[in-house]
Subunit: 312 residues, 2 copies
């Protein structure tokens, strides 16, 4: 089965033509979450048409357009429910009409972490499993849950997809979502500079001399035995691992897949979380597998075929 | 529809004959979680037969026996999966055979928090809602989730039912379940003496002079402005409210029902959690209702008819 796919992030959209578990062609279009989605739509449409031409695929041969969106999305009604400081105009855009008029095919929208889960389930680390939790560690923390081969969506389409917004510390930092001490507020890309600056010894640490407080810098300096970076890294590992136990206790998966940009340090994160889960999760049936995502930035695109063939 | 019901707690089993939303007759039988379930089975069978006689109901007129059990249960296979220091012998008992031979009817087992949810959904605070989270605050903390009118069970029957075992503090207290900082380990009946004794000023507080550190004592002394009791009460309220936000973010309910023995202080707990949820939960569709359970100890018994009529 062929499909068109868009994976929209905060600063770019990846457009693609996919066939089953392969990406036939893809292209990145620059976007800007702050100014909104509307100004980027013409460029996205042009890119998709170019990719169709390049691959010799007709739009009418595609099962539809699968649109992975970095927001709370109701795929059943093709509506964007809530944005969080990115593409805030998207709630008022009629993307179904846009897809129909530009490409003549149907649209299905879904949240980006759910799309990553579908991709990993169909073509990546979760192949062969029916009960899956996905965690994406990046600027924010995303989550998604699949039970018995079906994405968990819930009454208002937000079940499972706020995995980054489960409190890890009931007295922790304020989160952009409005809650307190979410895993995202304690150990995400946007939160880590706030957490780092509170750390005793930060001002005189090597981290303070970096151009920016990033996970890349923290993991690099921790390897080099900088004590502040080590303490921060270890704290993040604990937050992620504790959050993973919470998601296991909530959704009862066989496997947890961890993706996102921070997984450049998968060789440290995966074994830590796996060991923590084996020690601390209450799963009398056996051991939950913890795996690094395999598809990287392609996961959301490869979720296209399972999304478009899903009956909901 | 008529049914037999057993609600098993740590120190007693309530046996009942129910008809739809009414309890026709019930009786409490003393049990002992530490010595196991087997020694109590004859007394339970005698009690159920006596109740049948008293109400003039024949066992064969009952849709079955619904057994609410304080453990991890797979109702699909009628198996007890994991006990936590209560009735540890129950995993090896053939309760289906026992029910058939004593009463000649079928058995369905379910976890006690799930049964309380079913009861409140069918006859109590959650009537008319299809998407429900139940929290039971007591010696332990139980949880259960219903999505689209169906109990969430998951691959290994533990989805949704470990709501008390979501970490509230990733660096918190060790929990009996093996995890760290669970809401149960921070703010349940068994945990609160541990947390209280660590509190600055505890040794010279009025709480230290009580015969036991209980929620009853803490809420009473907090009303009387004892500063240690006030700090403990406020900490518990925050743990429960933060945990509730996490469950809302996980399961996307319309309503959260809070039950359990601690809800003797419902007049303080319900408004606090409702206000916290309104302030901190990310629910763009509207406001989640937070309600005190209405059925008290009858909730598990009144879950009998929905359990026995559920298709799974």
């Amino acid at each position: 089965m062929k499909a068109l796919a868009i994976d929209l992030g905060g600063t770019h959209a990846t457009c693609a033509v996919v066939e089953d578990r392969s990406i036939l062609a893809s292209e990145v279009v620059t976007t800007d979450g702050k100014t909104g989605l509307k100004p980027s739509l013409p460029g996205i449409a042009t890119s998709l048409k170019k990719l169709l031409e390049k691959t010799g695929v007709k739009a009418s041969d595609c099962a539809g357009l699968a649109f992975s969106f970095c927001a709370m999305v109701d795929s059943r009604t093709t509506r964007i429910l809530s944005t969080n400081q990115k593409y805030d105009d998207a709630r008022d855009l009629d993307l179904q009409r846009w897809t129909k008029s530009e490409l003549g095919i149907r649209l299905r929208l879904e949240n980006d972490a759910r799309m990553a889960l579908l991709g990993e389930f169909y073509a990546g680390a979760a192949r062969g499993y029916s009960d899956v939790v996905m965690i994406t560690l990046g600027t924010g923390i995303g989550g998604a849950a699949m039970i018995d081969g079906r994405l968990l969506r819930g009454k208002h389409a937000q079940a499972g997809c706020l995995g980054g917004h489960i409190p890890a510390d009931f007295e922790g930092h304020a989160c952009t979502c409005g809650a307190i001490g979410c895993t995202e507020a304690e150990a995400s890309g946007w939160a880590i500079p706030i957490v780092a600056r509170e750390r005793p010894g930060y001002a005189s640490s090597r981290l303070a001399k970096e151009p920016a407080i990033t996970f890349e810098a923290i993991f690099r300096l921790a390897e080099e035995k900088d004590p502040v970076a080590q303490a921060l890294r270890d704290r993040c590992l604990k937050v992620w691992a504790s959050g993973t136990v919470g998601l296991i206790h909530s959704f009862d998966p066989e496997i947890v897949v961890i993706g996102g940009g921070v997984m450049k340090s998968a060789h440290i994160i995966q074994p830590f979380v796996q060991a923590y889960v084996e020690k601390h999760a209450w799963t009398p049936w056996g051991k939950v597998k913890v795996r690094a995502a395999e598809l990287g930035n392609n996961a959301g695109l490869l979720g296209a075929v399972p999304l478009l063939t899903e009956s909901i």
